[in-house]
């Protein structure tokens, strides 16, 4: 639960942007990117309560922080991602690093360490990944052996290697996952501990302002009170408990970086005159390179905001929702950045313009915090259970809600979203009846279709709201048009790709399946999509004018 109101949140984002405008001009960021350099003094300043104190948002009030909620933190993540995703990653690593403590730390541990992080502006790193243990953390090799003195547990000696650790070479404090006799457990390790060292800063494709390094631990001694929770074997549950939350933050990274790339392209397209008019007035350009991404990014924003509100409303877990947000928004951001390069033509391909860097940076959001293929699997698993438990009624129920919404507001495409959800229910049921989920490809593809259908359904709800929250940036006419396009195109994708999936792996007749998923009816709903895209293109040009 946050204590920060929307006005304060807006002012915090203003301060962050103003700081970046002064201290992080593009030329400087570009130089750091070229030199593969971590801007340590910038991070220190951002953590300085006299300048910004960004990290305080991550720390509860009772421990000297500001107790920011999910909405506050995703908005900061989005804003940071628009500035530089490497810096965003570094700030986020502190957040991630404190997570095991927040979730599993004893009262005394939280009091001591959270306050220390707040007051001493500590950079924190989250040390879970190893060469053979990523999303499959059960393969963990790093060991923590008990050290007993006078018959009493005094501490642990940790030995092992960690890989791809954000802030690895620059953090002051590390949370390290290691296999204790009682099972995987988190330990707090300080930088100056004997036997602890960081390896070289990796030479990465993108997020080059973020320090990423491996860690070596050779008999590193930590006192027993630095075992988080002071009970062994809780590590994996503690790591799992916050995925809904942390993945939503990565979703905000993808969405923020994608929006920055897209807006750069929209502004550019109004200045580049080709064949007697600006590119921004040409459908062949806007309806391919701009509008689809704008729709996907705004749908992502609406979804992230809705899930953030639920998490702030004390709903716990939401792991499947976190995975849907992460998967959909990071794909949207990555695709938007890719086409932003195309939209800027030759300029897009040079390092003098920011989109090339954004594209390199945003790719990481599809990889870290669980790759998007792991997300497809997680989404499938979560919703497959719901499908089975409800005897196939999970999406039928959701479709009924959307039909009811359509009865109140016929402008948002809720009828199409409902058709998409029913098609999804039918495809899932066919997969169950024919046991098609024995094919891994089918399960992952189902994950993709589920994410698209749920994001589109949520977008309709957002677009229908009487008053728009800060998850909506465009005006009502544009938001409704985007919601219609999203709902119609998603329904068609779910139905047609679902048919392909079932027929590809199983048996049945295309004609029967087409009828069962109402393919013709969904195709009928595509009327007017081009006109909607015209409206969206015009609104984007009006909103993001050349600077």
């Amino acid at each position: 639960m946050t204590t920060i109101d929307a006005v304060s949140r807006g002012l915090m984002l203003d301060s962050l942007r103003e700081y970046a405008k002064r201290k992080l001009p593009f030329d400087y960021i570009r130089e750091l990117d070229r030199e593969n350099e971590f801007p340590a003094e910038i991070l220190r300043e951002m953590y300085d309560p006299g300048v910004l104190g960004v990290h305080l948002l991550l720390i509860p009030r009772e421990h000297g922080g500001l107790g920011g909620g999910t909405v506050d933190i995703y908005r900061v993540c989005e804003t940071l991602a628009r500035i530089d995703l490497g810096i965003a990653t570094s700030v986020f690593a502190t957040f991630l690093g404190t997570d095991p403590l927040r979730v599993g730390g004893t009262e005394a541990q939280q009091r001591k360490w959270m306050r220390k992080i707040a007051e001493e502006k500590l950079l924190v790193a989250y040390g879970a990944t190893e060469a053979d243990a990523g999303s499959d953390l059960v393969n963990l090799r790093t060991r923590a052996e008990q050290v007993v003195k006078n018959g009493k547990l005094a501490g642990y000696k940790i030995t092992g290697n960690k890989q791809w650790i954000s802030n690895g070479g620059v953090a002051d404090l590390y949370t390290i996952l290691a296999l204790a006799p009682g099972g995987p457990s988190w330990f707090l390790v300080e930088r100056d501990a004997t036997g602890f060292s960081a390896n070289k800063h990796e030479d990465k494709h993108g997020i080059r302002l973020s320090n990423t390094a491996g860690l070596s631990l050779d008999d590193v001694y930590v006192p027993a009170d630095q075992l988080i929770g002071e009970v062994e074997g809780q590590g994996l549950q503690q790591a799992q408990a916050v995925f809904g939350y942390t993945r939503l933050m990565v979703a905000a990274f993808g969405m923020g970086a994608g929006c920055e790339a897209l807006e750069t392209a929209v502004r550019y397209s109004q200045q580049r005159i080709q064949g007697g008019g600006p590119l921004s007035q040409k459908q062949g350009y806007t309806h391919k390179l701009i509008v689809p991404h704008a729709v996907a990014l705004e749908a992502s924003r609406a979804y992230i905001h809705a899930i953030a509100l639920r998490l702030d409303g004390e709903e716990h877990g939401l792991q499947t929702e976190g995975a849907i947000g992460k998967y959909y928004a990071t794909e949207a951001g990555n695709n938007a950045a890719e086409d932003a390069i195309q939209a800027l033509g030759g300029y897009g391909y040079t390092r003098d313009f920011p989109v090339e860097k954004i594209k390199r940076d945003v790719k990481i959001a599809c990889i870290y915090e669980g790759t998007n293929e792991i997300m497809e699997m997680t989404i499938y698993r979560g919703r497959w259970q719901e499908h089975l438990k409800s005897r196939g009624q999970y999406y039928i129920g959701m479709a009924a809600e959307l039909d009811a919404l359509h009865a109140q507001n016929a402008n948002i495409g809720a009828d199409s979203a409902a058709l998409g959800l029913r098609a999804l229910a039918r495809i899932l049921e066919d997969c169950r009846a024919q046991r098609l989920t024995r094919h891994q490809h089918v399960t992952f593809k189902l994950g993709e279709l589920i994410a698209a259908a749920e994001v589109a359904a949520n977008f309709c709800k957002t677009a229908a709201a009487k008053e728009y929250n800060e998850g909506v940036r465009m005006d009502r006419a544009c938001c409704e048009a985007m919601s219609r396009v999203c709902a119609r195109e998603t329904a068609l994708a779910v139905a047609s790709q679902g048919i392909k999936l079932v027929l590809g792996a199983g048996t049945g007749s295309a004609a029967e399946l087409s009828q069962a998923v109402s393919l013709v009816e969904i195709e009928d709903r595509q009327r007017g999509v081009t006109e909607d895209k015209d409206l969206i293109a015009a609104k984007l040009n009006e909103t993001f004018r050349p600077r």
Binding site: T3, S15, R22, R545
Partner: protein
């Protein structure tokens, strides 16, 4: 000492364009900011607070969303914020606005120094500050670059064409402030913003300040805006290069061709 700073929320006019068809401002996607002149007036007040321990009250007139700039002012160090917000104020020109703000300052009570930005970047009128001084029958020093207070004596460095004027006045008085060169407005840190949420922010209506409704809004505003338009862009001049003698010859030719001279 009590300082009152008058501030206004404005569209960031560096990003606003005028719709050539309708003559209205295109506001879509344009963020609202604290008027930079007011921002500097506030920073001037906060510097005086630092030296003298003065209490700083910020006041703004506008729709409910204008409370954002008051919150910003509180985060930067102001002690108290007042938003004048009422449908009765809608459509007020600079005179009616000056009247409403003057009423509010009277209600605040003892104001030793009133600071305003020289103008707001959305209207560029530079009338509201002087209007408030007139309504309150206070001495005013406009176009100040710097303001210092010693006891009850105010010393202001006033910008003039080609120079400065040092002007003294007895408090209470009103000053309007111009922007220093390369001014970069201060921004608050996250903890300062969070702390401002707890500070006093009051909402006052026309009735609260005892304003006569006939002197407010369109009724109380003698100004009538005929139309707003972007002036047509002037054609670019031509540049000729050469020696002085060649250029004189060229110039004379052009003046002849254009029928400015005959010979």
């Amino acid at each position: 000492m009590n300082i009152v700073v008058c501030i206004k929320q404005v569209p960031d006019t560096t990003q606003v364009k005028v719709d050539p068809q309708t003559g209205t401002l295109i506001r879509a996607g344009v963020p609202s900011i604290l008027n930079p002149y007011d921002h500097f007036a506030l920073e001037t007040a906060l510097a005086l607070k630092e030296k003298t321990g003065a209490e700083v009250t910020v006041i703004s007139m506008g729709p409910p969303q204008a409370k954002t700039v008051l919150r910003l002012a509180l985060a930067l160090g102001a002690d108290r914020g007042i938003l004048l917000s009422d449908r009765a104020f809608a459509g007020s020109d600079t005179w009616a606005t000056s009247y409403a703000i003057a009423r509010a300052i009277k209600k605040i009570g003892k104001a030793d120094l009133i600071l305003c930005g020289m103008m707001a970047i959305d209207g560029d009128t530079a009338q509201t500050g002087p209007g408030i001084a007139q309504q309150l029958h206070l001495p005013q020093i406009t176009f100040c670059e710097h303001v210092a207070v010693s006891g009850r004596k105010l010393t202001a460095k006033k910008l003039m064409d080609g120079g400065h004027e040092i002007v003294e006045a007895q408090l209470p008085a009103l000053c309007t402030l111009v922007l220093p060169a390369d001014y970069k407005p201060a921004f608050p840190s996250f903890p300062e913003i969070a702390a401002a949420q707890e500070k006093d922010l009051e909402l006052w209506t026309a009735a609260d300040v005892g304003a006569d409704e006939n002197l407010l809004g369109l009724k109380g505003s003698p100004t009538r805006v005929d139309r707003v338009y972007a002036p047509p862009q002037r054609a670019r001049g031509t540049v000729h290069q050469g020696t002085a003698a060649e250029l004189v010859e060229k110039l004379v030719c052009i003046l002849k061709e254009e029928n400015f001279i005959k010979c």
